[in-house]
Symmetry: C2
Subunit: 232 residues, 2 copies
């Protein structure tokens, strides 16, 4: 039940909402109300403490259910963590999709295509820096490149497709507007650059930069990588 409006970190909200999940877009996964509640509590723990903070017992306690009831939906911590990871991947996708919706409508020009790609990349990095716990959780899923291309239902978010595919589409538009072919590894170049930038900001050399300076760095780095892929 990924209601997935931009910025929301809940995994379904109240049971009554969850019960209406079947009315959602065809791509949205349908979770039983209790599973949605457990997932929602788990996501909140991870938002504040990262994936290491996830405890099945604490999630049960917060959801006010017995271990036996929880067990019917998630047999162990690993199973719940995987659902959290996929849900967080869906939230990342939703954040990128929201930025693309807010960007200028594509008009076939290189300028508009590049502006949209840049907006998508900026949304990627901003999601990571604004929600470190959720972003780190994405990476415990162990999803491989093929799975990024064919994401699990939970990882698609409300956008209906995963974040990787959304950036690939934006990249395709840039290449098409330039009359160029997209390189096979160009999406990985963009994804690497966004991931590396986010990790340097969260854990490493860019952590101490004032927000404004980091935003300059972010925009400059993303301008470099997004213009690179469109020049072949």
């Amino acid at each position: 039940v990924s209601t997935g409006s931009g910025g929301s970190v809940a995994a379904g909200g109240a049971a009554t909402e969850a019960e209406t999940a079947e009315l959602g877009p065809a791509s949205a996964p349908v979770l039983k109300p209790l599973a949605a509640r457990l997932l929602s509590e788990a996501v909140q723990l991870v938002e504040h403490g990262g994936p290491g903070a996830l405890s099945l017992r604490e999630v049960q306690r917060r959801a006010g259910v017995s271990p036996a009831a929880a067990y019917r939906h998630f047999t162990d911590r690993e199973a719940l963590l995987l659902a959290v990871a996929q849900h967080c991947a869906g939230l990342l996708a939703d954040h990128i999709a929201g930025a693309l919706r807010a960007a200028p409508v594509p008009d076939g020009t290189q300028a508009s295509a590049r502006t949209r790609l840049l907006a998508g990349c900026r949304a990627y990095v901003d999601f990571a820096t604004a929600h470190p716990g959720l972003y780190r959780a994405v990476f415990v899923s162990g999803e491989q490149l093929e799975e990024l291309r064919s994401p699990s239902p939970l990882a698609r978010g409300a956008a209906g497709d995963g974040g990787f595919n959304l950036l690939v589409c934006a990249l395709d538009d840039v290449a098409a507007a330039a009359g160029a072919d997209l390189g096979a590894w160009d999406p990985v170049a963009v994804w690497s650059c966004c991931h590396g930038l986010a990790m340097l900001r969260l854990d490493a050399a860019l952590r101490g930069l004032p927000e404004e300076t980091f935003e300059q760095a972010r925009d400059s780095v993303l301008a470099t990588i997004t213009s690179a892929v469109s020049r072949g």
Copy 2:
């Protein structure tokens, strides 16, 4: 005592070697023999188990010294971990420096400058993927951008300068050969891309790629980012 020949992970080797450290290059830090031995044991632990595997007690045991003797050099695990992190940064720098030494001599052309930059970046990624434990250790130092530009003596390695500065020099040569100015954040773009690519290989979406396919991805991604920074 970073003897730092390419690929070596030892932190000084035998005490007799360590005792001759003062004869090394001016930039090489001088560690007391026992400190060098403790550091060497610590680096070996981290090489095999990552920074989480570092235990002060185990290092003391392996070095065959008393806690009191070890304490005179490293007051706690954090102090030892910092020295390990800096030493590993020095090994990364040495690996990049070795690749630059093996690359074609710079002749002022764009082709040679770009080949050298690419060789340095490839060495960065290869160090990370060949020595995950050492590479992860680099990032526990908490070094910020300013410290990458003015690395601590241990982090300089035998090369006499840190890995970041070595790549900046290679970037400068590319810009100079192209008659262009290096963008202020271009080094961060290259660093982000290398770091992101390495982390996707170690922990995430690229982990399952066969070695040959990963090498294609690596070369394609690095060609994209290194050509981007030289076109302004």
